[in-house]
């Protein structure tokens, strides 16, 4: 394959910092894959797997942080709840405030801060809150708790995974806007 075979008019800009740079390199590689001929097929599948691995690592990292944030938020809220509703000592409320402060710190480790990702967090949060009520207060979720959770999850899947036109943002969790 000669240099003169390179697709004309294809411009590619690499970003300068961390996650955006990674994304733009992925985009460049993927556009190369599209362009490349059959001889490149084997190599391109390797590159594709590599790109997926990078993306999924980010997703897992992001999900872990959401889990941690949910734990801090529900845990802190529960401690304050114990203080005000169950008449536990003020020390519970003080710890609750501290844990909620930690909850404010956790999202700063997220690579980006996006409203669509936040909606996904809502889904994780609903399930975690019902589990918390089950494990710590012994309240079994009733039919309509479960039904509502299923409906809300459907909504979140629509927000997240409905295929968009190519010019729109990428689907799902992505570290670039």
């Amino acid at each position: 394959m000669g240099l003169n075979e390179i697709q004309p008019g294809r411009e590619c800009q690499l970003a300068t910092n961390g996650p955006e740079l990674k994304e733009s390199v992925i985009d460049l590689l993927q556009s190369l894959i599209k362009w490349s001929s059959k001889q490149m097929a084997i190599y391109s599948s390797f590159i594709n797997i590599y790109c997926l691995a990078i993306r999924y690592k980010e997703i897992l990292h992001s999900l872990f942080l959401f889990f941690l944030a949910g734990l801090c938020e529900i845990g802190g809220g529960y401690l304050i709840w114990l203080l005000l509703r169950e008449d536990y000592g003020w020390i519970f409320g003080a710890f609750g405030g501290l844990v909620l402060f930690l909850y404010g710190v956790v999202p700063t480790f997220q690579k980006s801060y996006f409203h669509r990702i936040y909606a996904a967090y809502g889904g994780i949060f609903i399930v975690m809150a019902l589990s918390w009520g089950f494990f710590f207060e012994g309240i079994i979720p009733d039919t309509f708790d479960i039904l509502g959770t299923v409906v809300a999850s459907i909504g979140i899947i629509i927000i997240f995974y409905c295929p968009r036109k190519p010019k729109d943002d990428k689907i799902g969790i992505s570290s670039s806007a």
């Binding site: 809502g122 809150a129 968009r164």
Partner: protein
């Protein structure tokens, strides 16, 4: 809580009261997180973090006024996090697309079933 335990409390008043509590909680949560975000990520003064912590504490107080059990209140609140889409519209100037609006409405519907279905 006081309002909710009135035996003759109008169900619309109760709905408006709880809905307002969910909305205020969402604003306090996102606002508090936003202040701490500004402190740590945008290198603002620590006083941002302090006020953010206080606002988050207030956020912990608000759900205790809700007339239900802990798990159900917090689960229903989770759906209201879809309001972050409105936050994205107002603060980040990012217009929600069709599926975000439809999905957001369905999420609110789901969490309303959790909280408002009469038992």
């Amino acid at each position: 809580m006081e309002l909710a335990h009135q035996p003759n409390c109008n169900s619309f008043v109760l709905f408006a009261f709880t809905f307002a509590l969910f909305s205020v909680a969402a604003i306090a949560e996102i606002g508090g997180g936003y202040l701490i975000w500004h402190w740590l990520r945008e290198k603002r003064k620590p006083v941002f973090g302090l006020i953010g912590g206080l606002v988050l504490f207030l956020y912990g107080v608000i759900p205790t006024l809700q007339p239900s059990n802990f798990g159900r209140v917090y689960a229903a609140y989770g759906g209201y996090l879809a309001m972050a889409i409105i936050w994205g519209l107002l603060v980040d100037k990012k217009r929600p697309d069709r599926y975000e609006i439809i999905g957001g409405l369905i999420v609110i519907l789901g969490s309303s079933i959790i909280f408002y279905y009469p038992r």
